[in-house]
């Protein structure tokens, strides 16, 4: 399978940007970190493009998340929704969203996995491979996260 040519990279990146950016904001609760991560992922794609554009959102999310990590999967640094956000506007909108309020109950690591699964549509195998963790860890994290969210009322109002 030929790599994505650099000439095409900008177009495929632009198509994937909205969904991946929103996934990163929902994970980090931080507009600047999400944008920085995506910028880095864009440049990574220029240097080492993915082999094809199937599931490009998953590739961008994984790379951007790695770039923004700065502790997500190591120090598991917590970012409070309203304390750590770099954008009041984004934080306010997330707070208005039912899913946003429920995501605030989770750690950033849990959010990264749940958002990848339910918003980007990545399988648990793809998440495990992309984030460099075991599939069992992904499965357990999804279960724990759902239990936490349901505990606080995942049901639609």
């Amino acid at each position: 399978m030929p790599e994505i040519a650099p000439e095409r990279w900008g177009d495929v990146y632009d198509r994937a940007f909205p969904q991946v950016y929103r996934a990163l904001v929902a994970t980090t609760f931080d507009r600047d970190r999400a944008l920085d991560g995506l910028h880095d992922a864009f440049e990574e794609g220029l240097r080492n493009p993915p082999s094809d554009d199937r599931n490009l959102e998953g590739w961008l999310y994984r790379v951007a998340l790695r770039k923004t990590r700065r502790g997500i999967f190591r120090a598991q640094r917590e970012v409070a929704l309203d304390a750590g956000s770099s954008s009041d506007e984004v934080a306010a909108i997330i707070q208005r969203l039912e899913v946003g309020r429920l995501l605030a109950l989770l750690t950033e690591r849990q959010r990264a996995i749940v958002v990848a699964h339910y918003y980007l549509g990545l399988t648990q195998d793809e998440i495990a491979e992309g984030l460099g963790i075991r599939r069992g860890t992904v499965s357990a994290t999804v279960s724990q996260s759902l239990a936490r969210m349901r505990e606080e009322g995942i049901a639609r109002g």
Partner: protein, 447 residues
């Protein structure tokens, strides 16, 4: 195998797609570097050794500049019985299922003066979709039901809701009160329940159904329907249809005195793209008017749109600016706007034309009938935590419930019930705090 819960996936997509995007110019950090790398790639493809060296040099330069810049920057079938003339109402004695796991409210010395067990709460339980009734004074679980979207009647006594409808069981539109239930509509295969709105007199509901492609897809159909509870009323009559446009109806209110049903059309972005009114004419025809609400800025967030309990006014929060906009049910263009800067939440106080919201450490109540050029004319209750959010009003408007969770999450932490009294100017501000009330949905009224 796809192990994802479709309902949860839908919820994630619906909500997270509302996160605003940065301006297009911010999507990439540097157009210059992109050009350099793309150009170098073409040279590499030409295969010249010298060009390859230059390309490497460019990449090194690019990496250096990166560091520098980083440092700098189908139709539903009505199934309700026409013989049913009395609505099920919430009855705390009807189906008592106490649970040891139910947390108790923290009772403070002033609580007796504030609790009113003629009222209670609808609370989401741990099991997805399950909701239970609890009374105010004990927070005890009284009875429960499974739902996928609901609306409380204007008097707070009854709840119209969609059943989850998993597997071969189709979704149903039902009305519940305590242990008694009334089934109004059973959806056909492939249909999904949309929104529900009660009529202002509590004698009818408007509801929407969706079918076809997923939210935001082009191949879809959405209908706006009405159901009158009277035996000789309309039972499941479709009054508007939207096909293959990516827009979905969400009913907002039904002013029975004016015979106008209002609804929003929403799409994948979660905004209200169009405001629709359908006048039910004496000859049983339906006169539909559609206002494009996107022309003025980003429009209103559909989830924030609510009607006053008499269905005379509608409010919504602007997608981009968070401004609070309100308008007469029949005329979106006649709406007014209040700056949303620093304000948290915007809800109608039941039985009034007052919009409640939090600002700083105060709960404000602004009467739209008295709104002037300066905006809403407000009275306020002080001493509200700055990180709290307004969750709901008691079903008769006599108290407000504030979530005081430390994270700002409406689902987390404690809730404070603040008594308001009949005249907001005479507001006592007496309050009591519930500990771990759970996923609060709304206030209900017992009979």
């Amino acid at each position: 195998m796809d192990d994802r819960d479709k309902g949860l996936t839908h919820l994630f997509v619906r909500d997270l797609d509302e996160i605003p995007l940065p301006a297009r110019g911010e999507w990439r950090r540097m157009a210059r570097r992109e050009t350099i790398v793309m150009r170098s790639s073409r040279y590499l493809l030409a295969g010249g050794a010298v060009v390859a060296v230059l390309a490497i040099a460019l990449i090194v330069g690019y990496q250096l500049s990166q560091r520098q810049q980083s440092a700098a920057n189908p139709s539903a079938s009505p199934t309700g019985s026409p013989r049913e003339t009395s609505l099920p109402v919430v009855d705390p004695r009807a189906s008592v299922t106490p649970s040891a796991a139910t947390p108790a409210a923290a009772v403070s010395p002033v609580s007796a003066a504030i609790y009113d067990d003629r009222f209670g709460f609808l609370v989401f339980e741990q099991q997805a979709g399950k909701a239970s009734f609890r009374n105010e004074s004990s927070n005890a679980r009284l009875s429960s039901f499974e739902q996928q979207g609901f609306a409380v009647s204007p008097d707070g006594f009854s709840i119209a809701y969609w059943t989850p409808g998993s597997g071969p069981s189709p979704q149903q539109l039902r009305i519940i009160g305590g242990a008694s239930e009334l089934t109004l509509v059973t959806l056909a295969s492939g249909q999904r329940g949309g929104g529900i709105a009660w009529s202002s007199d509590g004698a009818a509901v408007a509801y929407s159904t969706d079918s076809g492609g997923s939210l935001g897809g082009a191949a879809n159909s959405s209908t706006l329907n009405i159901y009158e509870l009277a035996a000789n009323g309309r039972h499941g009559t479709t009054i508007a249809t939207e096909s293959n446009t990516g827009w979905f109806y969400r009913p907002i209110a039904w002013d029975r005195s004016a015979n106008i049903v209002a609804a929003g059309l929403t799409g994948e972005g979660g905004g209200m793209g169009f405001y629709v009114t359908v006048r039910i004419e004496p000859d049983n025809s339906f006169n539909l008017q559609r206002m494009d609400t996107k022309s003025s800025g980003l429009g209103v967030l559909m989830q924030s749109v609510r009607a006053s309990s008499d269905a005379k006014f509608v409010l919504g929060v602007d997608f981009g600016s968070s401004d609070i906009r309100w308008w007469p049910l029949a005329d979106y263009a006649a709406g007014k706007t209040q700056s949303g800067a620093g304000k948290r939440g915007a809800l109608w106080r039941p039985g009034t034309h007052e919009i409640g919201f939090l600002s700083g450490e105060q709960l404000w109540l602004g009467d739209v009938d008295k709104a002037g050029a300066q905006g809403l004319c407000c009275t306020a209750v002080s001493g509200v935590p700055a990180t709290s959010s307004l969750r709901t009003f008691r079903a008769d408007g006599s108290a407000a419930l504030i979530a005081v969770g430390s994270t700002g999450s409406a689902e987390l932490g404690d809730f404070t019930l603040i008594r308001l009294g009949g005249d907001p100017k005479a507001t006592s501000g007496d309050r009591v705090t519930f500990k771990e009330l759970g996923g609060l949905a709304t206030s209900v009224r017992f009979r």
